[in-house]
């Protein structure tokens, strides 16, 4: 096993380190307070208070009411719940608006709805521009009378590009269409105030903001028609059956508190580190390019293509130095095609296969950035020497 102390971890859009404070908050509920919050006795019932407190913390980070917070098992469950709920609430509406660059949790669900529900659905999958941004006019044109739900991510996991959720949600609301956003990458990195937005459903995931894995949230705006996805007990006011994952819920509450505290740092120090890394790499390595809009972007994410070399080979060389990142190349995904996000943006094949995503967190240091800036150029140069497409004078 690699020593965690030695990892230069820049893969925070994949998952994050559990904050020490979060772990500490969780431990009593794993070790001592194992009661079931639904029980009548105090030993179980007292756990319910911890859940209520966590619910409040989550609601505070999002600018929501605690009753609008439904705990789920992960971001994927939240996404599925929102979309299935809308389709069941409006059985006559069989049109969904989404984008070509959604996370598989939304993308693959929407693409397989016909099989899953036994109904025919019409999907409008919006194209993105070469910088990964959406065209609002095309979005407006896609909204139809029979649109049941719009599901568009707040920020893209691969490029960090942020979509204009406020405007898009407003346009949906004006037409009486439910609006869902997968905000798994955005929560904790950009300020969100749901009171001021026309968003009906919002998904988030604990492990992307220094909480534990296996806990998610679906925000359901008060008054939004809702059909549960997991049917069972009366937990979560009947909106999600299943005994509460108490320790993780408490951990997520703590993580949301921390996220609110660190939001400013995320957008200043972390952003500065990201910019230093990005500018340093683009300057030191010829034939490299940024994927995604330069400014409409999460403060922690940088997706850079190194032309004429392949992503998995780059990652495994980085791994020799304990540098952790990810790639949109085909070989890393187990599929044979490069990332659907980069392809939707029209990133040329020379570049798509050689894309590396660096995603930082508040735990990264300037020394780590310097280390990566020192190691990357020789890794790329070494692989290019081996590449039949690399011309020395290019």
């Amino acid at each position: 096993m690699m020593n965690p102390e030695e990892a230069v971890y820049m893969d925070n859009n994949a998952t994050t380190r559990v904050a020490p404070e979060v772990l500490e908050a969780m431990m009593p509920y794993l070790r001592d307070y194992y009661g079931n919050p639904s029980s009548m006795h105090r030993f179980g019932g007292q756990v319910g208070a911890a859940i209520a407190e966590a619910r409040e913390k989550v609601a505070n980070l999002l600018g929501a009411d605690p009753e609008e917070i439904v705990f789920t098992s992960c971001g994927t469950e939240s996404d599925s719940t929102a979309i299935f709920s809308a389709l069941q609430s409006f059985p006559d509406k069989r049109h969904i608006v989404t984008t070509r660059v959604e996370h598989p949790a939304v993308k693959n669900l929407c693409e397989s709805l016909d099989t899953l529900t036994g109904h025919k659905h019409r999907l409008s999958r919006l194209m993105v521009d070469s910088d990964g941004t959406l065209d609002l006019q095309k979005y407006e044109e896609a909204l139809a009378d029979d649109t049941a739900i719009v599901s568009i991510m707040w920020a893209n996991n691969e490029t960090g590009v942020i979509f204009p959720i406020a405007e898009m949600a407003r346009m949906a609301r004006e037409r009486g269409i439910l609006f869902h956003t997968d905000a798994v990458q955005a929560v904790g990195k950009v300020p969100i105030n749901l009171k001021e937005l026309d968003v009906d459903f919002l998904s988030l995931s604990g492990h992307k903001l220094h909480g534990p894995k296996g806990i998610g949230v679906l925000y359901v705006r008060r008054g939004t028609p809702f059909v549960p996805f997991l049917v069972g007990g009366h937990q979560e006011r009947g909106r999600r059956g299943g005994t509460e994952n108490v320790a993780s819920i408490v951990g997520l509450g703590c993580a949301c508190d921390l996220a609110a505290t660190h939001m400013a740092e995320e957008n200043s120090r972390v952003k500065a580190l990201r910019d230093k890394l990005e500018q340093g790499l683009l300057a030191a390595i010829p034939h490299s390019m940024l994927n995604g809009h330069k400014t409409d972007r999460l403060p922690n994410t940088s997706n850079i293509s190194f032309e004429y070399v392949e992503g998995e080979a780059i990652l495994l060389h980085m791994d020799q130095y304990n540098i952790c990142a990810s790639s949109g190349s085909a070989c890393t995904s187990g599929s044979l095609e490069p990332s659907h996000v980069l392809r939707a943006m029209g990133v040329p094949f020379t570049a798509a296969h050689g894309s590396i995503r660096y995603s930082l967190s508040i735990y990264n240091t300037e020394a780590e950035i310097d280390f990566v800036l020192e190691k990357m150029p020789p890794i790329i140069a070494g692989l290019r020497q081996m590449s039949p497409f690399w011309k020395v004078d290019a």
Binding site: E312, A330, L336, M386, P388, F389
Partner: protein, 278 residues
């Protein structure tokens, strides 16, 4: 994270024979940037016809680089005839195995070697022949059938692992299943699929003749200490050169007409005429 053997990691991190031989005797280039991997193999022969040096340039993942590196190590010191017998399984075995999803990397190595040998022999093999089945990766029915037979493939998933066919949009999956069923269950139907194009280009003929020589004809000749090389194909005329004990055999002309020509007519095209190149 892939589970790569130590041998794969070693060849990936410290590849052998990277580069390009100047004035090589044979060059083989396969793959493309779009497909995500590509290999350029060059070799040089000594005066005894033994591969004295081989070098590679590879764009691709760790297993593609390792497969290329180990391939060059394997073929240096081999005669062309020996090298022609190297299979993708040999390459994978030499690496201590590859993850099944990465077997196509070893196939790429074998294809580059084949292409380099054909290049040396003056036979220009096109990258893809037969009927294209997988449009995303440009894989033909012939390549798929060959992989099914050589590596004993039994599912569409395995075909994708070995040839990449079906790994893109997935539109050809039904067709892959058909080919698999036909190839596995009915030996007779294989030929029907493989030989559908009645009007073959010279390049297609060459590849099919090479296959027939390798699979059906050489084993018979070798039993008697002989061998055969394809020299050229001009229309229906197939020029070959007999090697080993065949050269001094009084019956060599009979062998050519009664055995080689008959077999090639049966397996490739019934209008072929076999002649010995002097």
């Amino acid at each position: 994270m892939w589970e790569y053997t130590n041998k794969v990691q070693q060849h990936f991190l410290h590849p052998k024979n990277v580069g390009e031989i100047e004035k090589p005797d044979g060059i083989g280039e396969v793959g493309s940037l779009a497909c995500g991997d590509a290999l350029k193999l060059t070799f040089k022969l000594d005066d005894k016809g033994v591969i004295a040096d081989a070098k590679f340039k590879t764009f691709g993942c760790a297993s593609a680089i390792a497969s290329s590196s180990v391939l060059t190590e394997m073929i240096i010191g081999m005669t062309l005839e020996e090298a022609a017998k190297v299979t993708n399984e040999d390459i994978a075995d030499r690496l201590g195995g590859l993850p099944k999803e990465k077997m196509h990397c070893s196939v790429m190595g074998r294809e580059a070697l084949e292409s380099a040998i054909a290049n040396y022999r003056g036979l220009k093999l096109p990258m893809a022949e037969g009927e294209i089945v997988c449009e995303c990766f440009g894989v033909t029915d012939l390549e798929i059938i060959r992989a099914i037979k050589e590596s004993n493939l039994r599912s569409v998933e395995e075909i994708t692992n070995f040839t990449k066919a079906g790994g893109g949009c997935g539109k050809c999956i039904d067709r892959l299943r058909e080919i698999l069923m036909a190839t596995v269950h009915q030996g007779v139907d294989i030929k029907k699929i493989a030989e559908k194009p009645k009007r073959m280009t010279t390049l297609q003929k060459i590849k099919k003749i090479e296959e027939a020589l390798e699979r059906e004809i050489r084993p018979g000749l070798r039993k008697d200490g002989g061998d055969i090389e394809l020299v050229d194909v001009d229309g229906d005329f197939v020029m070959v050169s007999l090697r080993g004990s065949c050269t001094s055999c009084a019956k060599s002309q009979t062998t050519l007409k009664e055995y080689v020509e008959k077999k090639l007519r049966e397996l490739v095209l019934d209008s072929l005429i076999v002649e010995e190149s002097k």
